[in-house]
Point group: C2
Chain length 333, copies 2
């Protein structure tokens, strides 16, 4: 049970998922047992609350809490009774089919990699991020899990991203671009230039080098980069609506007419801004581990948690891991 | 004479600068002589046009044109009679005190580095970019000139950026951040972690690691990164207003009320968006070469060209290069 609004949002989201799924799956909640029981009971009093029947869920006591300030290794070393540690061990042992968390991303990443292990042929598991575009969202991978990537790692990210996006959106050959500083094959840094060559013979639907401006164009399904670049890019992108808002407020204060215009436009703008907040889209998969792990933003809403559970269900049904493994074998990656 | 709107915008900008400067400096125009003479003559017919007196300017014939598709080495190899090549040679020989161009950035960068040479102690000259913030713009350096940077190069970018921003804004100790994936000293990639150590003992007003979201916060005067990251970030940032515009148009079409709101808000929004276009701010310096070189966007307006000329004047008067050299000596860099 992790995230800034745990257990409230996590429990609400899980209960909504159970309500909508109508018996397709059960949910196991990991966290402090008494708190979880009380939070489930309280659902009945919420506007959209649903109290699931006892056969729809179970609770596994995990009293320790890994917060955002704990080191990434906490689940493995100091807090082995945290929901991350207990839940991932149960997933490894086959007691649950997928693991969903809005907790400390670094802790989930390292615990999942070590407890579940990596898929055969994968050097580095990866976390992608969905970036909004005028068309379907684009998966930027790696979003920050891995820095100093070797060309082979970038190839792996491309393969995992392509298979995941293909499965989730039911498209045959997602278009994959390699993030660089120019479209020509001669543009890039050492790692990207070498990765370009690997990607050209990968069998993926590879668009070659793409630039920063192409990410949100809607022309690409997957954009591959080193996690150092990915993390910086995503945090930069997140900050732009804040800048825009500040500028808009300055504009609104500049004259009575501006103020009236701003008042009229406010709601429309808010709607547009919301779409730029890619955290709204719910969780993203941790790809490359031997299991199904969906990671959400610390501030995940109940709706985001619900969507993460459905995403986990879909990832299982679409056999994403088996497909990654097959593609790796085909490309000799 | 370079840029997408050369010679018209370049000549107009130069003539405006001469008009406003009132004899503080002379301008030398490099380009096809007949065309330049005709363009200057035509200024009289423009709404804001000023025809300078013959003693305010001179023309040096440079008939060849390096376009955006030419390789970066064109000025040195195939097109030695281009304005970039002729102008930089005149700058090297002391015939002009600064060189301003809206032409092919890569060509200016490589020609300037080879023709003018580097400042002593500088491994890699750099181009910064001014990113808008709610306060003063932030200089992001390197903006794309150098990929695969060593820690020492990042230190040099920080020193050059700090001195340039300090001189231009008359501030004593510009606040410098190192772009990374977390604020803690343990966060980063190999190059950034090593650069962090160099920067901690550099004597600069160093804020440590900063994240993508800090660039536009207004809390930093200079943000240092590898040019691979810088280029991708800037192009990504440039694309966001386009995305926003597309979303706003969808909103405007969604209902008659939305359409009315959009109509009312349009001009205000356009004003806010314009501020996000950092290309509007005019040119940026090529730092680290043995000379004063200001590079502008290919689409520079006459106003941008005028501001580039004034920026060159200021860079000379503030002795930016001498100060860089002194700082390098002090830090043993």
């Amino acid at each position: 049970m992790g995230g800034d609004y745990a257990p409230a949002n996590v429990v609400s989201g899980a209960c909504q998922a159970l309500h909508e799924a109508g018996g397709r799956f059960r949910v196991v909640l990991f966290g402090p047992e008494d708190t979880l029981r009380a939070t489930i009971r309280d659902q009945g009093a919420l506007p959209d609350g649903h109290v699931p029947s006892p056969d729809q869920y179970s609770i596994v006591h995990a009293p320790e809490v890994i917060d955002m300030h704990d080191p990434a290794t906490a689940a493995l070393k100091t807090k082995r009774k945290s929901s991350i540690s207990v839940g991932l061990h149960q997933h490894r042992d086959g007691l649950v089919d997928a693991f969903v968390s809005a907790g400390n991303t670094g802790a989930v990443l390292s615990a999942a990699t070590l407890i579940l292990g990596r898929l055969r042929g994968i050097g580095r598991p990866t976390i992608g991020a969905l970036v909004p575009t005028p068309k379907a969202p684009c998966l930027l991978v790696d979003a920050g899990a891995n820095v100093d990537c070797r060309p082979q790692h970038l190839l792996e990210f491309a393969i995992m991203g392509s298979i995941y996006v293909g499965a989730m959106r039911n498209i045959a050959n997602p278009k994959v671009g390699l993030l660089s500083i120019g479209e020509e094959d001669s543009k890039g840094n050492e790692a990207s230039l070498a990765a370009l060559k690997l990607l050209r013979k990968s069998g993926l639907n590879f668009a070659g080098n793409v630039e920063g401006r192409d990410i949100m164009s809607g022309e690409l399904d997957v954009v591959v980069c080193d996690g150092f670049v990915g993390n910086i890019l995503l945090k930069f992108g997140e900050s732009i609506p804040h800048f825009f808002k500040a500028k808009f407020q300055t504009f609104a204060r500049s004259s009575p007419l501006s103020s009236a215009i701003a008042l009229v436009a406010k709601n429309g703008l808010r709607r547009v801004m919301k779409e730029m907040d890619y955290q709204e889209h719910g969780g993203v998969p941790l790809l490359g581990v031997n299991g199904v792990v969906i990671i959400g933003h610390g501030k995940s809403s109940p709706k985001a948690i619900k969507n993460m559970i459905f995403r986990a269900e879909e990832t299982i049904h679409k056999a994403v891991n088996r497909n990654i493994q097959e593609m790796l074998t085909q490309t000799d990656a």
